[in-house]
């Protein structure tokens, strides 16, 4: 797929994919002696669903942590929206429009579904401190406006019934969905999903796949996701990066990747959970 036009391409199902939004160049990340990522480059295009696959410990989560600023690679560059990114704190990167979910659910356990997703609106709200003290003017107004947006997400994810439930009480599958809602609340340009379907049963996986496709379709959100379930990956992603032992061993459309001998050897051929 390296002969793709810089302006974008059209997917087999007719979706229009834009230019490069995020590009990592020659990233190397080490933890002491452990090399988690070794000289990896790839790009993510506007409007795309980009999958990252690979065996356990391949460095997939580490890659997302580099993209959203938790880890600072020893070598390499991250380009976002056409500019090279300086070393930044994760909260500053969030403001640039990158949101994510975690492999192990990282919800705010003491808060309700509604409050969790409202918290996701943090970067969209800016009432001053005194206005918040008095609950007058901007603070009151933006609380209502943002609540309206959050209710849209709640409807979209079909979680109306658990709106006021503390998330700690929710079953696993719903928690994953709330976490997706919280990430969506930020109206991200780029959404990173770390194993959004791990530990789910077939129906839950189908639901989640549908939500991911709908997010991409309705909100126009670019998505990078890590997933182990090959069926799901082949179904929903436009292009796939394959990692193994910190290296990139394949990159391309699902069909290309599936047929790549190196990938088959290293990954697809091996029995895997």
């Amino acid at each position: 797929m390296n002969d793709m036009s810089p302006d974008g391409y059209t997917t087999p199902d007719g979706r229009q994919i834009g230019g490069v939004m995020m590009e990592v160049k020659n990233i190397t990340l080490r933890f002491g002696g452990v090399v988690a990522i070794k000289d990896i480059s790839f790009d993510i295009r506007e409007g795309e669903i980009r999958a990252i696959i690979g065996p356990n410990g391949a460095g997939k989560s580490s890659m997302l942590n580099v993209i959203n600023g938790f880890y600072h690679p020893q070598e390499g560059e991250v380009w976002f929206n056409g500019a090279k990114r300086k070393a930044m704190k994760p909260h500053a990167i969030a403001k640039q429009g990158i949101a994510r979910t975690f492999q192990n659910i990282a919800l705010f356990k003491g808060m309700s579904t509604l409050d969790n997703i409202m918290t996701g609106r943090f970067t969209k709200m800016n009432a001053g401190f005194w206005s918040q003290c008095l609950w007058k003017g901007k603070a009151e107004q933006e609380e209502i406006e943002n609540r309206e947006y959050v209710e849209k997400i709640i409807d979209f994810l079909e979680i109306q019934a658990i709106r006021k439930t503390p998330v700690g009480r929710l079953p696993y599958g719903l928690q994953k969905r709330v976490e997706l809602g919280r990430a969506l609340a930020a109206e991200p340009k780029l959404l990173l999903l770390d194993e959004p379907m791990a530990g789910m049963n077939v129906e839950e996986k189908e639901d989640m796949s549908r939500f991911i496709l709908d997010v991409n379709d309705e909100f126009g959100t670019t998505i990078a996701l890590i997933e182990h379930d090959m069926g799901v990956v082949m179904d929903i992603s436009d292009r796939v990066v394959v990692m193994d032992y910190g290296r990139k061993i394949g990159d391309g459309t699902p069909d290309v990747v599936r047929a790549d001998p190196a990938v088959i050897d290293a990954y697809l051929g091996v029995a895997h959970d």
Binding site: A94, R100, A106, M111, F122, L134
Partner: protein, 358 residues
């Protein structure tokens, strides 16, 4: 079936976001407020004011403050006594330095000064968490008490080392000093509690409050949402310390009138306020009030029952107080970390379904 949501539909998000979404609660709140403001001032006695009302109002402010930091933002503090002392000494210096300054303004300024000091001592929270932060705030507690003892500028070089609140009036009525009427002191403190409780409620239900809770529950996730941990934690320290400072200011100027720092603002004060929020409920404004009321009332009730009615010795009743509080702390920590506030919520839930259990 009088306590219910049914038939009380919310048609706007504003209605759903209000402090008391249920009509019955809203009515109760206004009735309590009307009694506190309209009836109590005419009936309070010296004894009730000094034994119950003033300590309750003042500790409630401190408890809300600590709850913002510990209950909402998850940063444990054992420095409450020390920060109350900052409020008290700020008030003393302002009262003696600016005799014409209105006492209400002095109390507020003392809050701001304490907020500044709180931010300073909150800086370590950016690096350390949990137990280690608790120890750091404990160090702040001891340092502050030591400083107010040691540096005689703080007590205007008085021989006794004490600070005394001179008389200050508001609308012609003495608010501090020996001439203060009980109802005036009561109303003065009540006004502060009402205003501060409303502010605390507003802050905790909005954007900044959610950022505190996000830091408390999962700081990594808070950060990827765009919450700057530095600002979130330091703002919690600032707001919390403001409340605690106002509380210390009132405790000194309106309630005690004269203060020796180690006695009034020692480590036991830090624990007292911490116990209030544990028993009342972490992360709840109402719980702060309930916890303060409980801790103030318990010794009074025990004395009434054990000493005055049963004729037991006073120190036995005092020890009994310790035992009850100790047992309750353990019980709440194990069984109900959300304290009295949660028990109250559960009771209301039951009441909503009454008389049918399901």
């Amino acid at each position: 079936m009088f306590y219910r949501e049914a038939g009380d539909f919310k048609t706007t998000y504003a209605a759903d976001q209000q402090t008391f979404p249920i009509l019955f609660d809203r009515r109760t709140y206004y009735i309590v407020l009307a009694i506190a403001l309209g009836v109590m001032p005419f009936v309070v006695t010296d004894y009730i004011t000094n034994a119950i009302l003033l300590p309750f109002l003042i500790y409630a402010i401190a408890a809300i403050g600590l709850n913002i930091l510990t209950g909402y933002c998850g940063q444990v503090s054992l420095g409450t006594g020390g920060f109350m002392a900052v409020g008290a000494y700020a008030t003393y210096k302002l009262m003696t330095g600016f005799p014409d300054l209105n006492i209400a303004i002095i109390v507020v300024l003392s809050g701001f000064i304490t907020a500044g000091v709180g931010v300073l001592f909150g800086l370590p929270s950016l690096r350390i968490k949990g137990f280690y932060l608790a120890v750091a705030t404990l160090a702040a507690q001891f340092f502050l008490v030591w400083m107010f003892n040691k540096v005689s500028w703080f007590y205007n070089y008085s021989a006794s080392g004490q600070i005394n609140a001179p008389e200050r009036t508001m609308l012609g009525q003495p608010v501090t000093g020996a001439e203060t009427e009980p109802w005036v002191a009561y109303l003065f403190c009540l006004a502060f509690l009402i205003v501060l409780a409303v502010i605390a409620r507003n802050l905790t239900r909005g954007r900044i409050g959610r950022s505190w809770m996000a830091i408390r529950d999962m700081d990594i996730a808070a950060e990827i949402i765009g919450v700057n941990p530095l600002w979130s934690k330091l703002s919690a320290f600032a707001v919390s310390s403001f409340f605690v400072g106002v509380s210390g200011s009132l405790f000194f100027a309106v309630y005690l009138g004269a203060v020796e720092v180690g006695e009034a603002f020692g480590i036991q004060k830090s624990f007292l306020v911490l116990f209030m929020i544990i028993i009342g409920g972490l992360g709840s404004i109402f719980g702060s009030l309930a916890g303060a009321a409980f801790m103030v009332l318990l010794p009074v009730v025990l004395k009434l029952v054990m000493v005055d009615s049963l004729g037991w010795p006073t120190d036995l009743a005092a020890h009994f107080n310790f035992i009850v509080v100790g047992a309750l702390i353990v019980a709440f920590l194990i069984f109900e970390p959300h304290g009295l506030a949660q028990l109250w919520r559960i009771a209301k839930e039951k009441l909503r379904l009454w008389p049918f259990p399901h």
